[in-house]
């Protein structure tokens, strides 16, 4: 049975009269690193939410490892192996950071895969260690800076040990130095292996990002969205030469 890792077919989603996602189709392989770019409001976040079943599409299909995603519950999809971060970080503000990550570690997927890890805290701690905020494990999430919240989002997502990781602007709000660190972590994660008690499958990733220069160093393919449609899909160097892409970006930059 030949089926792709992730297949998105003619996906549509409207909010009221606004077509946020219009006939989007693409597919990706198990080992791929995909960059998803586009001007503000292009529908990138909406696309990620459709893939994780947070939103339900008006029509179209999303298949993950041959299984339909549309109509399933978000937690089902996450336990199937897709994890995502939120662009506008959504931590549990009044809980300590470690507890934020423990929630992910308590998901059936994480529990099943870490059977030899009796202590959920230890695994959560390793996820924090990987994200680089383990020193603040006991602080309340409300005390974190923007950059650290980004890392918390990443820690929460990888704690479920996904096979497909969706990162929504992982560099947003980070300083250049922090961006480099984050990019390095992402590359290490993609390579896979063991980080303490946390196991990385070497997940495929879809990375939404506005910092193109940084993004180009990590991904090996870029999909460009504009007004909810895919206007370009290819290797990074080609895509940035593409006329439609330049127009879309310049049109935005001209405002």
């Amino acid at each position: 049975m030949a089926h792709g890792f992730l297949e998105v077919e003619r996906l549509q989603k409207s909010f009221g009269g606004l077509r946020a996602i219009n006939e989007v189709s693409f597919s990706m392989e198990r080992t791929e690193m995909l960059g998803l770019i586009g001007p503000n409001g292009a529908g990138k976040t909406t696309l990620l939410r459709l893939i994780t079943a947070v939103l339900r599409p008006d029509s179209g299909r999303v298949r993950f490892k041959g299984k339909n995603v549309v109509g399933r519950r978000t937690w089902d999809v996450v336990n199937q192996g897709i994890a995502c971060t939120f662009q506008n970080m959504r931590p549990f503000r009044r809980l300590p950071i470690i507890a934020n990550v423990m929630v992910s570690c308590l998901s059936p997927r994480a529990m099943k895969r870490g059977e030899w890890v009796k202590r959920v805290e230890a695994k959560a701690m390793d996820a924090l260690e990987f994200a680089g905020i383990s020193d603040m494990a006991l602080e309340k999430a409300s005390t974190l800076s923007q950059g650290d919240l980004k890392r918390l989002e990443v820690a929460r997502a990888i704690a479920t040990e996904p096979e497909l990781l969706l990162l929504d602007e992982p560099f947003g709000g980070l300083s250049p130095a922090e961006t480099d660190l984050m990019a390095q972590s992402i590359r290490r994660l993609h390579k896979g292996g063991r980080f303490g008690r946390l196991h990385s499958e070497g997940p495929a990733m879809i990375i939404v990002e506005h910092k193109l220069q940084q993004l180009m160093k990590i991904v090996d393919r870029i999909v460009v969205l504009d007004f909810g449609t895919v206007i370009a899909d290819g290797v990074p160097d080609e895509v940035v030469q593409n006329e439609d892409v330049i127009k879309a970006y310049l049109g935005e930059g001209g405002i």
Partner: protein, 346 residues
């Protein structure tokens, strides 16, 4: 002999380092001891009766905290579980002759079932809508109670139920003992991994789902757990009163529960318990001023909440203890250094 001495010394060290070290824990211990020892000093039936009801309502308020405080599912109709517990227990005792120690837990299972039935329509609601919907359920059930008086006794309720025990002191020990045990169990639940998920669901349900947690299951779980403990309180109430009537479903009771819990301090279990132990006897005591009783009561509650918006107990705790900025362990307020990591406090 040497072995016994060893264990005694070990127990003493544990006791000193785990309980005496924090004023809040010492206070809980003293509270439990005081409850247990009280009948040795006085057997005044009026006082015992008040304390019996206080203990029952404390279980009820704590069970509300489990659902509404921790899990954030605002329930303004918590009397529903209390009433179902009371009616089920009463019917089981009266019709099937179940003794109290069977009728109460099975009656509470009735409340669990209610939690499931009520929880399902509530899954999609939150905030004000949830509060309004939950408010309606006990009113609906009261309508049902009046509609089938053959079974429920209608307005008069079901009477002629067996007493909880043969003496008031035993009643007292059963209710306060259950309060201490169930209170501890509830506190343990909130302190467990499930407790973390309850907290997280209150904070941001969408993010919990995105972490791979079946929020539906855990919300229903919270409804059922809360229903169980409230149902036990209802069953105890029925056996103490020897009737189960529509008053157990009243809107006023639902609001009373919220007031007790908020006054004591929600998201803590011990806060609502303390709230009931202060407010319920207070309201009884205020009977000496029959005309202005409710006014004075409302005034006291309002003033407290104005100055202690988090509730009384968290306010007190924050004044007698402080958290170490480094390791987040709590310390007595007068300590200069953290008792664990020796970081400077303040």
């Amino acid at each position: 002999m040497g072995l016994l001495g060893f264990y005694l010394r070990k127990a003493y060290t544990l006791f000193k380092n785990q309980i005496l070290v924090l004023p809040s824990r010492t206070a809980v211990l003293l509270f439990a001891l005081a409850l247990v020892c009280l009948p040795l000093f006085t057997r005044d039936p009026y006082l015992l009766r008040i304390l019996i009801f206080t203990a029952i309502f404390a279980i009820l308020a704590a069970s509300w905290d489990l659902l509404s405080g921790f899990t954030g599912q605002m329930n303004f109709g918590h009397a529903l579980f209390f009433g179902v517990g009371a009616y089920c227990t009463a019917l089981l005792n009266l019709r099937l002759d179940f003794p109290p120690w069977i009728s109460i837990p099975i009656g509470a299972l009735g409340a669990v079932l209610t939690g499931l039935i009520v929880g399902i329509p509530c899954l999609r609601l939150r905030g004000t809508y949830l509060a309004l919907t939950t408010l309606a359920f006990p009113i609906i059930l009261m309508g049902v109670v009046f509609a089938i008086p053959d079974i429920t006794g209608g307005e008069l309720g079901i009477s002629g139920i067996q007493r909880l025990s043969h003496s008031r002191v035993t009643d007292y020990y059963i209710t306060t003992g259950l309060l201490l045990i169930l209170g501890f169990v509830m506190w343990k639940i909130t302190d467990s991994k499930t407790g973390i998920l309850f907290h997280a669901i209150r904070e941001d349900e969408v993010a919990v789902r995105a972490s791979g947690i079946n929020t539906t299951r855990y919300k229903l779980y919270a409804f059922c757990l809360s229903g169980f403990f409230a149902g036990i309180a209802g069953g105890l109430y029925a056996h103490i009163m020897r009737t189960a009537g529509p008053s157990t479903l009243e809107v006023a009771l639902s609001f009373q529960i919220v007031i007790w819990a908020v006054f004591g301090g929600i998201v803590s279990i011990y806060g609502p318990v303390a709230g009931v132990f202060i407010l319920y006897p207070l309201l009884e005591f205020l009977r000496i001023l029959p005309k202005v009783r409710m006014l004075v009561f409302a005034f006291i509650v309002l003033l407290t909440l104005l100055y202690m918006p988090e509730g009384l107990i968290p306010w007190i705790r924050d004044h007698i203890e402080k958290e170490c900025p480094r390791c987040k362990i709590r310390n007595v307020a007068f300590r200069k250094e953290c008792r664990v990591c020796t970081a400077r406090l303040d």
